[in-house]
């Protein structure tokens, strides 16, 4: 029986944890291949170890030893039967279903005990002693009666050939260096005082050239876990931040606020940032950058203080109201007592400077482009240009003797015998015009833009801008009522002209150049390059060696005629186009008026010493004119004796700054 049970133990397989005490789901599949003692009759199934569901559809479940069919029990137990059985049968826990025969088998006490023992990993046999003392048959002790009587092999007492071969191979391999002996373990400590002997020779040139990596930027308040509230981004700022490219962002992270330290989570980009630092360390080219650490105050040039350069106009003191449209031109009488202004409302007004009284208003037949007071103190004449006409007006102001002398001078003209055909017609006005003071009317073939007197007061130059035409500049001689065209050919559109104050030079400004002609030799002396796009105005220094040009591209160029044909200095003080420039006759001052509504007065000292360059210092920005239709100041003029400057503007006023 013992042997049988041992054999049984080989064939019992436990599919699941066997819980006999519960006995609810006892799923023990036994394959009984031997006849069991507890079977009343031998109904061994001979189908072998096959899945029993193959017999699912048959009435039998196999064959017995005699080859007869073993039939399934007539009625299968259903769940209810099972349950009732479980409740009522006291031996239910030790009952197992034999699939092979379709019968329920009730295990005996011995069998249950056997199952327990097997579960615990013990031997099936109760009486088997697994710790019996071992008897060593083959020991070093020579026994009187040996177990076997076989003589010892030869190979047991001669050296092994195979081993010899193996050892030989190894020796050869070691000799040849194929096998290396195991390295001895390092005993030196991992760390020691590396810099124990610091010798200065170890510092190579490399170290001097080495550029250490810049340290990481230290965090600011915004990186705090609990920053002040203004460092947090508002919704709009956050949106902007999110839409920005990661490289463009000013902050690489979004500032966050946590109420306590325990709420702070891990920073998700920590490893990335460290990795980026690593990349920077070994991939970024390094370069020493010299950072200019300039104090901006040091960049500002040291100029003499404006206070030391007085006198110059500083305040707006008088405003001359009267014109209803923009005033294109103004001019001061040589005595400095009167002022004439020509406006787009087709009038010319004569003012007393000190009182702002308008003494005379003269209507002319078109918008007045230019007015110019004769600079000779013995003549009282004003040239006024409108449309194609230039009229010479005797205003009748001031010394009566001078006025009458002027009238006499004009009327004393005698017609020459041979009358030349002239391009300009000279006419003497009559009637009302004569009463108003108009003395001569010069009718030109084209519109006259500018008139300019020679210093003596006899010659008058007129500009009729017309690109490329041969007739752009004409010079009139008033006393002989003669007109001449000095240039056969003009290059470019003439903008303005001016006589040299002391020498027989004539300056013609085209769009980009100023040409200086010698009138006696009749040749071009100099061509000044203004370095600007479009010259608007020009003035000659009373000393005669310096010229300033204003241009529509906000520049004012100062030429030193002795120095170079290029500007000695280009000033870009104005924000908008320059319209008028002027020199003072006696004081070292010049002024420029611009469309930005300001007049800038500069100190422009010219030294007699040729080696010393002119000193130019801006001294005052005068504001007052109101900008109308994008036009500000249109003309500036200095008082002949006082450090005063007049400016006419698009707002229809003339202002005096003293």
């Amino acid at each position: 029986c013992c042997g049988l049970l041992a054999a049984l133990s080989l064939h019992i397989t436990f599919s699941l944890s066997l819980s006999l005490s519960l006995s609810l789901s006892l799923s023990l599949s036994l394959s009984l291949s031997l006849s069991l003692a507890f079977c009343s009759q031998d109904i061994r199934n001979t189908v072998g170890n096959i899945p029993m569901e193959w017999y699912k559809d048959y009435p039998h479940i196999g064959y017995d030893l005699d080859g007869k069919k073993i039939f399934k029990p007539i009625r299968n137990k259903d769940e209810l039967d099972e349950f009732l059985d479980k409740m009522e049968n006291p031996d239910y826990w030790r009952t197992i279903h034999d699939k092979m025969t379709g019968t329920d088998v009730c295990l005996s006490d011995e069998q249950v005990d056997l199952v327990h023992r097997l579960q615990q990993g013990k031997f099936g046999d109760v009486n088997f002693n697994e710790y019996e003392p071992a008897i060593d048959f083959f020991s070093n002790e020579v026994m009187i009666h040996p177990v076997t009587n076989r003589p010892a092999d030869k190979r047991s007492f001669i050296p092994s050939l195979i081993e010899k071969e193996k050892v030989g191979k190894l020796v050869h391999a070691i000799k040849m260096g194929w096998i290396k002996p195991r390295r001895p373990k390092e005993t030196a400590p991992q760390y020691y005082d590396l810099w124990a002997k610091e010798d200065p020779n170890a510092i190579l040139g490399r170290h001097k050239m080495h550029i250490p990596a810049p340290k990481m930027r230290l965090p600011g308040h915004e990186e705090s876990y609990n920053p002040p509230p203004e460092y947090l981004l508002t919704d709009e700022e956050r949106q902007v931040w999110e839409q920005q490219d990661p490289d463009e962002r000013k902050l690489s992270f979004l500032p966050q606020k946590y109420l306590s330290l325990r709420a702070v989570p891990a920073f998700s980009r920590f490893i990335q940032e460290r990795f980026e630092r690593c990349l920077d360390l070994y991939l970024c080219p390094r370069q020493r950058k010299m950072r200019v650490n300039v104090n901006p105050e040091d960049l500002i040039p040291k100029l003499p203080r404006p206070r030391d350069l007085q006198p110059f106009p500083t305040l707006q003191s008088l405003v001359y109201h009267g014109h209803s449209s923009l005033i294109r031109s103004i001019s001061i009488s040589p005595s400095g007592q009167w002022l004439v202004s020509g406006s787009d409302d087709c009038t010319v007004r004569f003012w007393e400077v000190c009182t702002t009284r308008c003494l005379k208003t003269m209507e002319v037949g078109g918008p007045v482009k230019s007015v110019a007071w004769n600079p000779a103190p013995s003549i009282s004449l004003v040239a006024v240009s409108y449309g194609e006409n230039v009229i010479l007006v005797n205003p009748g102001l001031g010394d009566r003797l001078i006025c009458s002398a002027t009238d006499q001078l004009i009327s004393s003209y005698e017609e020459p015998e041979e009358v030349k055909d002239q391009q300009v017609q000279w006419a003497v006005p009559e009637g009302k015009a004569q009463e108003q003071g108009q003395r001569l009317i010069l009718t030109h073939p084209k519109a006259v833009k500018q008139v300019s007197w020679h210093g003596r007061g006899d010659y008058l130059a007129c500009v009729m801008p017309d690109d490329g035409s041969s007739l752009q500049v004409v010079i009139h001689q008033v006393s002989r009522r003669r007109t001449q065209n000095p240039f056969h050919r003009n290059k470019g559109a003439v903008q303005c002209v001016s006589f040299h104050p002391s020498r027989p030079y004539f300056l013609v400004a085209t769009q980009r150049y100023v040409r200086v002609y010698n009138l006696i030799k009749q040749e071009l002396t100099k061509k000044l390059m203004a370095n600007c796009k479009w010259i608007s105005s020009m003035a000659v220094h009373p000393g005669g060696d310096n010229v300033i040009c204003g241009s529509y591209d906000c520049r004012l160029a100062w030429f030193d005629l002795d120095l170079s044909t290029k500007p000695y200095k280009v000033l870009r003080h104005h924000k908008k186009a320059l319209r008028g420039v002027a020199y003072h006759k006696h004081y070292p001052l010049f002024a420029s008026g611009s469309d930005d509504g300001t007049v800038i007065v500069c100190h422009g000292m010219v030294y007699n010493d040729l080696l010393q360059n002119p000193l130019i210092v801006p001294v005052k920005v005068l504001k007052g004119h109101i900008i109308t239709h994008d036009l500000g100041v249109l003309d500036v003029a200095f008082h002949p004796t006082q450090p005063w400057v007049f400016s006419s503007g698009a707002d229809g006023t003339v202002r005096l700054f003293t």
Binding site: I179, K180, R182, R183, Y191, L194, W195, E198, A202, I203, R206, P212, A213, M216, L218, P219, G220, H221, E223, S224, Y225, N226, P227, P229, E230, Y231, T234, F253, Q256, Y258, L259, S260, L261, A266, F267, F270, I271, Q272, R274, F275, R277, C278, L279, L281, Y282, L283, C284, P285, R286, Q287, L299, I300, K302, L303, R305, R307, I616, P618, V619, V621
Partner: protein, 566 residues
């Protein structure tokens, strides 16, 4: 004419630079090995001045190294070690492929390795040089020591990093040289001053990392290899200067345990869990080589440096005193850390300033006293409320400790009690220049540091002001009424216009400056405009910040009032 024709790109800058690929070929290394070599030797690319010339006329994007650098690399013994390792890997793979386990075992026994000692010595010929570059090494080691023991890199590396960082922290505690701490959203920044060098490092918060995929861990590992070597040598040297035993040992009252530790270290079990964790508890002081007078603080004589006058000397002395005072900031205080606060960081900071620290026994090894200890002065808590409170100690939030360190003084604890809304935590690294925006909290702190009393409760002032305003409004109304009643034409004496001379002078000066600016040269003007633009921008930003703050303050005030009314 005549003479040999000069060929292009055979002299000048074209011969001084070498492209990365050529350099790699010259050294006959794979790209990965070349990269490793560059990292270890500290070779970085250079940007040539004339890229096109160096690139032989091509404008393709290339990385250039100095030829001198590459020549320098050719002598490096490590290059040979790299090749050896490559061969070793090949042999091992072969052995595995053939299933020759014995050979594989033998090969692995002879695995070639290399040491970086000479590289460290070569890159940093003096100790100070090494110390100057230790910032990145520390940050990296602290990061690696928080990595999980599985996956991303070798466990040995992680353990080594942990050990080195713990050693570093212990050194800083012993030296008491921590200067600034900052709790940022990224981690905790520490700044210490060691041998006159300012060293800053960043420690992540104690959380598991979600490892990113766009990071090359091999590069990081190479850096770590270098950094651990560097940090190890630096630690050794630093411990030596302080007469401390290296590897560090914890002082213990029981000699038996001491013996035990000694045994452990003798047997090379230094990294044994117990010892390291004892050390990392940061609660005990370290063993000194010469265990004589603990506090041998001799009065130092002060000599004025060359070209230093009395004032400067006094200034320096004062700074020195301040520092001494800061080092003893928490001396005599006894702290207890609740279990939810970051223990390591707080223990480190507190011990750096002379405090006694302990924590719950079950939290970590090394706790020295219990919660119930009556002599505890401060209890660091980070939870909204606490059930059992002792009456003779302050319950503060952890930010108090850090703010105190940064302010170099013990701040009033009222703002940091349990459940109180904390004041903002400011960065100690920001030094505001003139014109920068200074948050009002900083101003308050500066006033506190100077010894001024903080202002009285603002709310009271406000209410008083409001009352005043109301009164004044009433007065105005009354006056208006009076005026209406006496509506008759009056002749008032003319008033002299006050001439503000100062203002006029200022205006004149401004005008002068404006005029001078107009006369600037074009080049100077450009630079000047640039500088002024930068200045204006910073002013604009500062203004924006202060406006934002003002609006926020007003909003919060309004909120408060609403609540009060309710």
């Amino acid at each position: 004419m005549g003479g040999l024709q000069k060929k292009k790109y055979e002299s000048g800058s074209a011969t001084n630079y070498i492209s990365r690929n050529k350099a790699r070929k010259k050294l006959s290394l794979s790209l990965a090995d070349f990269r490793r070599l560059c990292i270890l030797k500290g070779i970085y690319p250079h940007e040539p001045k004339h890229k096109k010339k160096v690139n032989k006329g091509s404008t393709a994007q290339r990385t250039f190294y100095l030829l001198k650098d590459i020549r320098f690399l050719m002598h490096e013994p490590i290059v040979g070690k790299f090749r050896e390792y490559k061969i070793f890997v090949r042999k091992l793979r072969k052995a595995y492929g053939k299933a020759e386990w014995g050979t594989a075992e033998k090969l692995r026994g002879n695995k070639p390795g290399y040491k970086l000692d000479h590289i460290i010595k070569e890159r940093y010929p003096t100790f100070i040089d090494a110390l100057r570059d230790v910032d990145d090494a520390l940050s990296m080691c602290f990061l690696f020591s928080t990595f999980p023991r599985t996956g991303k890199c070798h466990v040995q590396t992680i353990e080594l990093c942990r050990r080195l960082s713990v050693e570093w922290m212990n050194y800083i505690i012993t030296l008491r040289s921590l200067r600034k701490v900052f709790l940022s959203i990224k981690g905790i920044y520490y700044q210490a001053e060691v041998l006159g060098q300012i060293i800053t490092w960043l420690v992540p918060y104690q959380f598991a990392h979600d490892h990113p995929t766009d990071v090359d861990y091999r590069v990081m590992a190479t850096f770590t290899e270098l950094y651990t070597t560097l940090l190890g040598f630096i630690n050794f040297r630093l411990y030596q200067t302080l007469n401390l035993v290296y590897p560090p040992k914890v002082t213990h009252s029981q000699p038996a345990v001491m013996l035990h530790f000694d045994l452990l270290s003798e047997f090379g079990f230094y990294c044994s869990l117990l010892s390291l964790s004892k050390l990392s508890a940061l609660s005990a002081s370290l063993v000194r080589v010469v265990s004589t007078a603990e506090a041998e603080e001799a009065e130092l004589d002060h000599f004025p440096a060359e070209g230093e006058d009395g004032e400067k000397l006094a200034e320096r002395l004062k700074a020195r005193q301040d520092q001494d005072r800061q080092e003893k900031l928490f001396e005599g205080l006894k702290f207890f850390l609740n279990r939810e606060v970051p223990r390591e960081s707080l223990a480190f900071v507190l011990r750096c300033f002379g405090a006694q620290v302990s924590w719950d026994k079950s939290l970590c090894i090394g706790s020295t006293y219990d919660v119930t200890d009556e002599t505890i002065t401060h209890h660091v808590v980070d939870r909204p409320s606490l059930e059992k409170q002792y009456i003779n100690r302050y319950y503060v939030q952890p930010q108090w400790v850090y703010d105190c360190v940064n302010a170099r003084m013990l701040l009033p604890v009222e703002d940091y009690f349990v459940g109180v809304t904390l004041p903002p935590h400011l960065s100690p690294f920001v030094e505001e220049k003139e014109g920068d925006y200074v948050p009002p909290e900083k101003l308050k702190l500066l006033a506190l540091q100077k010894g001024e009393r903080p202002e009285e409760e603002e709310d009271n002032d406000d209410s008083e002001e409001e009352e005043d305003e109301d009164q004044s409004d009433d007065e105005d109304e009354l006056k208006g009424m009076e005026e209406k009643q006496a509506s008759s034409v009056k002749v008032t004496p003319g008033e002299a216009k006050p001439v503000n001379r100062q203002r006029a002078e200022q205006e004149a000066k401004a005008e002068e400056k404006r005029l001078a600016v107009m006369m600037m040269k074009k080049r100077d003007k450009y630079l000047y405009d640039k500088i002024m633009f930068g200045k204006k921008r910073s002013v604009r930003e500062a203004n924006k910040m202060s406006a934002k703050r003002k609006a926020l303050d007003e909003a919060s005030k309004a909120n408060k009032k609403k609540k009060l009314k309710k």
